[in-house]
């Protein structure tokens, strides 16, 4: 068992190069996500094949033909509680989900076409409104809102 300093110094040299490259790249801002406020001009038209039902306790999403691959982008659900102290600094409670990570609660067959229903429970307590939609983060910049639907619950 003989330690070879020439080999060790070579390993150290190339390790430092790797660390240096990663540190420099990180320093230039790569991999950092900047949060931007939700755009107010997001379209309100729901994507084709998706129906949304909202009650005071939950939202139900019905996907025609169970084709969730067309709805692969991340969903956001902003719940605005009547008691604003229970919300975050933005005034709402943010829930994020993806249909691929949810199990359908029900399958429905209608005219030979199957559809899948998914349920997402709202945060408990009285809520004044919810905003539901999908978003993307192109180049890591959050967020491009694909569509956005708001429902008032206190009317």
């Amino acid at each position: 068992m003989k330690v070879d300093l020439k080999i060790l110094s070579g390993v150290l040299f190339f390790s430092l190069i790797a660390i240096g490259v990663l540190s420099f790249v990180r320093w230039t801002g790569v991999g950092r996500v900047a949060d931007l406020p939700v755009s107010a001009v997001a379209p309100v038209v729901l994507p084709q094949g998706l129906d949304v039902m909202v009650t005071s306790a939950e939202i139900t999403l019905e996907v025609k033909a169970c084709d969730i691959d067309k709805l692969g982008d991340e969903f956001f659900l902003h719940t605005y509680p009547a008691d604003v102290s229970s919300a975050g600094p933005e005034g709402f409670i943010n829930q994020q989900f993806n249909l691929k990570a949810l199990k359908p609660i029900e399958y429905k067959d209608q005219a030979g076409l199957r559809s899948c229903r998914y349920r997402v429970e709202l945060s408990p307590g009285a809520n004044t409104r919810v905003a539901l939609g999908q978003f993307r983060a192109p180049e890591g910049r959050c967020c491009e809102i694909l569509w956005n639907k708001e429902v008032k619950l206190d009317e």
């Binding site: 330690v3 020439k6 070579g10 996500v33 033909a65 691959d69």
Partner: protein
């Protein structure tokens, strides 16, 4: 995807048909999955696009096995060669992988993201820092797996060399290297969760995925020093096969993202890598079929698999653009019986071109030995002297 080692003639002699089958399956799973994502498939088919991820997992394990075997052979001389042994290994890997990677990087800049981004904004792709321990962007997204591979090529030999430099033998260096590459990603997935934008972002992070290649190296270790165990794995191939299929079914149900804890999620990735890696011995022992056409298809797909992998999305984009330009989009794009054969033909045509004009010349250049270089220089000198 990038583990072919030599040019045509030599490679046909040395290639394992079974590993070609493995590479072909992995490659076609990726193309199939992405093709569904770039079209309007039948609802039944649409649910299978997730299979692309398993194609890449299989690629990782295969790559680990092939590279592991090379490293365990070459490392026998590293004590005498010092760092030159490792730099020689890097040179061969980089000549194999970088030219095409860089070519498609510029294709992305010019055609896919024309005007939407610049070289300066994306320079970190050239040092494979796009997803080291953080989310990558949508630019040149296919490159995520290349980054995993390149960091493996860079770091695994360094770990082995470090252990050898500390006085250990190759076998011990390999064991320690493998253990590091199995444990660190497993712990990183639990302890360093990235800030996810998409639900499955963790799948594309270098630090989280190195163990998939590490398990391939473990199989190479068994092949090199424990051949009976390797053969047993081959005989009981149906065990990892059933487990891998179960895992695929569970993925369809939402795993690993629906798992209750980071530990379970991390374990899922580990299991996936183990099951796919355990299939490698069975592939290795697979012999060519009786059907020459199938054998030739497998060998050719495997030969150009790296070009297929990096170029297939661009082939889809090209087809869609051409259909749009000639007003055929509505008529053809919505009909899978028409669009899929066009997609596949274009993928193979583009891959053939990029293999012939980019990969192959660089492989030839790489394989020029010092004697040939000397001869070339002498010929050049004679030419200069007018002889």
């Amino acid at each position: 995807m990038n583990n072919l080692s030599t040019t045509d003639t030599a490679s046909i002699v040395h290639r394992s048909f079974g590993l070609d089958v493995c590479r072909t399956i992995a490659c076609l799973l990726v193309v199939f999955g992405h093709m569904l994502g770039h079209s309007t498939p039948h609802p039944v088919l649409a649910g299978f696009s997730f299979l692309a991820t398993f194609g890449v997992d299989l690629f990782f394990c295969l790559s680990g096995f092939l590279i592991g075997r090379i490293l365990m052979k070459e490392a026998a001389h590293w004590r005498e060669q010092k760092i030159a042994g490792v730099t020689g290994f890097w040179y061969r890997r980089w000549m194999r992988t970088l030219p095409l990677y860089i070519f498609f990087f510029f294709v992305s800049l010019r055609f896919d993201w024309a005007g939407a981004t610049t070289f300066v904004e994306q320079f970190h792709y050239l040092v494979f820092a796009q997803n080291f321990a953080w989310n990558m962007t949508d630019f040149y997204r296919l490159s995520w797996s290349l980054a995993v591979e390149e960091w493996f090529y860079y770091t695994f030999p360094l770990v082995m060399l470090l252990i050898i430099g500390l006085g250990a033998g190759i076998k011990r260096a390999a064991v320690i290297g493998i253990m590091v590459f199995l444990l660190v990603p497993f712990l990183a997935r639990i302890g360093l969760p990235i800030q996810s934008v998409r639900y499955d972002d963790a799948r594309y992070v270098v630090l989280y995925r190195l163990d998939a290649i590490g398990f391939g190296v473990l199989i190479a270790y068994l092949y090199t020093w424990h051949r009976p165990v390797f053969q047993s794995l081959s005989s009981f191939w149906y065990v990892p096969f059933v487990l891998a299929v179960t895992l695929i079914v569970l993925t369809r149900q939402g795993l690993p993202w629906t798992a209750g804890s980071k530990f379970e999620q991390s374990l899922f990735f580990t299991c996936s890598a183990i099951f796919f890696a355990a299939l490698i011995p069975a592939f290795f022992n697979l012999r060519a079929s009786r059907f020459d056409l199938i054998n030739r298809f497998v060998r050719y797909t495997s030969l150009i698999s790296y070009s297929i992998y990096l170029g297939h999305i661009f082939a889809f984009i090209l087809v869609i653009n051409v259909l749009n330009r000639y007003g055929l989009h509505e008529r053809i794009y919505t009909n899978p019986w028409l669009v899929y054969p066009i997609f596949i033909s274009c993928v193979y045509a583009l891959a053939h071109l990029s293999y012939t004009f980019i990969e192959k010349p660089f492989l030839k250049l790489r394989d020029v030995d010092s004697f040939s270089k000397l001869k070339f220089l002498k010929d050049f000198q004679r030419f200069g002297a007018g002889k």
